[in-house]
Structures are given as C-alpha cells and as structure tokens.
Symmetry: C2
Subunit: 111 residues, 2 copies
C-alpha cells in the first residue's frame, strides 16, 4: 500500500519513523477496534505526518522526537501497548528512526 | 515475520535501516529470481546485519552509511533497481534511516 501523507504533503527529510513489525496470536479479541482507535488518535496529533501500512508492518512518520514521546506517553497508546503485550502479540519489533533520505516512485499511470 | 539477525545477533542501536515499501504490477516476470539473488547478495555483505520482510515491505539493517552506499552502488543492485523501475513496480517508497532505539518482544512460549 502506498504511504499516506497527512494533507497529501510528503515531508522532506530529516523526519522520524516509528516502525512496528508484529506477529499476532490466533485469538485477538478487541484488537481491530483498538487498532483503528489508536491509528485515528495518532493521526490526529499535530506531529504525526502520515503512515505506511501492510499486514505485519506499520510505520508512522513524525516531525520530531518530542511528538513521538508525547504519543508514547498518551494514555490510549499505553493501554493499547499493555493489551498488546498481554493478549495480542506473540512477537513484535519496534524501532524509532531518524529518516535521512526518502524517495517515492510512481510508475506512469499509477499515481 | 520475525526480524532475521545475521549470526543470530541483534545489534544495539545506533545502526541503520533501509525501508522499501512497494506495490508491484501484475506481470512481474523475473522478479522472484532477482529478489532472491539480491537478498542473498546483500546478506553476504559484511555490513548487512539482517532484515525484516513481509509482503510489500522489506527492511534491511546495516552497520553504517558506508555499507549502505557500497550496496547502493553494487552492480547487481543497480541492475535490480533498473528492472524494478522499468518493469516490476507501480509504486515504491524507499527510506534510509538511522535507528535510534530498537526493541524486540517475545511472548512466553513464542521464542
């Protein structure tokens, strides 16, 4: 899936990326609702620039580390992380990164 | 899918990540062979630390920017990129990132 940029504006590097690679358990009751709620809340925050999402890998983009830390400490996000660890995930790998270069390619006729 | 670390060693941040988000066209003749060949070649390079792979998102991890630049200029990689742009991809988003924090979680019984 193509990267979604808020207000349709691709930011110029440097910016920040939070990568979340995950494998879920078989019983993930409540996951979909929480996933939608956290994504909408993150996107509504001023510092969130957009996201890239495919099954098993979610990347959110942020303007700076302060915005990431605010979201890390957000009560809804904390609640989601707690449930994730206890109920939903058998594995995850999370990374906080500074994006140094970013490039998007659109083949003719596919934009 | 869980992140694969070369020699089973998860590196400590800081290290580097190259993210490749993509959407392929319907006809991708030659893609699978090239994909396997480039992945094996990248992994054989000294500076490559491992990778995370799910359909539509491939992330490779590197010890530093020099290693990334060597791989960028590798003849096989250049050939793959040329074919990718001409034949295989309708979209891609590539990012070069410095990993500041990295954390892996394994639920009980799933490591």
């Amino acid at each position: 899936m193509q990267t979604f940029w808020k207000n349709n504006i691709a930011p110029k590097a440097p910016y920040y990326a939070v990568i979340f690679i995950s494998e879920k358990k078989e019983n993930v009751e409540g996951y979909e609702e929480m996933n939608e709620q956290t994504m909408n809340t993150a996107l509504s925050l001023k510092g969130c620039l957009g996201y890239s999402s495919v099954p098993g890998n979610f990347i959110s983009y942020w303007d700076n580390m302060n915005s990431i830390n605010e979201w890390r400490n957000h009560s809804l996000h904390k609640q989601a992380k707690e449930k994730g660890v206890k109920q939903w995930y058998k594995y995850y790998h999370s990374l906080i990164c500074e994006v140094k270069h970013s490039h998007e390619f659109f083949a003719n006729g596919f934009k």
